[in-house]
C-alpha cells in the first residue's frame, strides 16, 4: 500500500498548494478521513472543500510488479445556497483548480486532464460544486 499512500499524499499536498495560491487561501479543506478534533468543522460561512478519492487502477500491464495507478481526485466545493448566484462559487473553484494544469507532476503523480466540473448539486442549505482531477502514476513496485 506504500504506493497508494504516496499518491494520495501527493494529491492532497497538491490541493493544499492549489488553495494557497487561489483567491481564497483561507478556504478550509477537509482532507480524507480527517474528522474529530483534527477537523475544525464546517465554517460559519458554509464555504469549504471536501475531498473524495476514486482510484481506478490498471492491472496486468507489465510482466513485473510495475503498475499504472490512475483515478480521479474530486474536489467538492460546498457553498451556501443563499441565492447569490453561480458566478462566485465557480470563480472560487476555478481559482483553485487552475493549479492542476494538464501534465502537472506532483511527486510522480501526473495530472492527465484539465479539471472537469460536473455541474452543481443543490442540497438543502448548500450547493455542491464537484470538480474531478484525473491523475496517473507509474510505480515500479517491489
Amino acid at each position: 500500500m506504500q504506493d497508494e499512500t504516496l499518491i494520495v499524499a501527493a494529491l492532497q499536498q497538491g490541493v493544499t498548494a492549489a488553495v494557497e495560491q487561489s483567491d481564497t487561501p483561507a478556504l478550509p479543506v477537509k482532507y480524507l478521513l480527517v474528522t474529530g478534533s483534527a477537523w475544525a468543522g464546517v465554517p460559519q460561512d458554509g464555504k469549504w472543500i471536501e475531498l473524495v478519492w476514486i482510484p481506478n487502477n490498471r492491472q496486468g500491464d507489465y510482466w513485473g510488479d510495475e503498475q499504472n495507478y490512475r483515478g480521479l481526485f474530486r474536489l467538492i466545493l460546498h457553498w451556501p445556497n443563499t441565492g447569490g448566484g453561480v458566478y462566485d462559487p465557480l470563480e472560487t473553484m476555478a481559482s483553485i483548480t487552475r493549479y492542476f494544469d494538464k501534465g502537472l507532476l506532483l511527486s510522480g503523480v501526473q495530472i492527465t486532464a484539465k479539471p472537469n466540473l460536473s455541474n452543481f448539486i443543490e442540497d438543502g442549505d448548500e450547493v455542491l460544486f464537484p470538480v474531478s482531477i484525473s491523475y496517473q502514476s507509474y510505480r515500479k513496485g517491489a
Binding site: 500491464d61 507489465y62 510495475e66 492527465t112 507509474y138 515500479k140
Partner: protein, 175 residues
Amino acid sequence: MNKLLFAMTTGLVASGFFNTNAKKKLYICSTPQPTNLTASTYAALTWVLIGGVGSHGEVGDSTNILTYDTWDDEVVRKAKGLTDAGSPEIEVARDPADAGQVVMRTAAGTNLDYAFKIEGNDKPAGVSSTPTIRYNRGLVTGPRVPLGRNEDFDIEIFSLGLQQKQITVNPVAVP
C-alpha cells in the same frame, strides 16, 4: 473432457500447467557477447533486470522449409534450410532511470551482440529451485517511440536480432 478431468483429479496434470507471462523477468547483460554461449556460460554472466516490460515478441527457432519439385514425382520434396533465431520486439514503459532500460538504450547504440535471459514464473518450491530460463544473444535496435493519442502510455519498443539457437533450461526443483 472426462479424461482431462480424471487426469486433473488424479494429479497426472501438474498444477500451473498453463502459465501466463505475469511475473516473468527479462534480463540483459551489459557486456557484449560476440560468440555463442552455453547454458553454463550464460548463467555465469552478470544480469541487469529490465523494468516495465509490457510485451515481448516471439522467440525460438524458425527453420526454413525448402521445396523442390521434380518431373517424375507428384509430391514436392522438402528439406530443412537455415534457422532464424528470431527478431522479437520488446515493449517497455519508458523509465529513464531504469537500469535495464539504460543498458538497452546503450546496446541499441552499438553494433554488438548482447545476451538476454528470460526467467519464467514457474519456479518450484525451494529456495535454490530455479524456473524455466531461456537464453539468447543478439543485436539491439531502437527504441521506436509510438507516442499515440492522449491516453496512450509513453512506451519504447526495441527490436532484437537474435543470433544463436535458443537455449531453454527447464525448471529444477531443489527441495
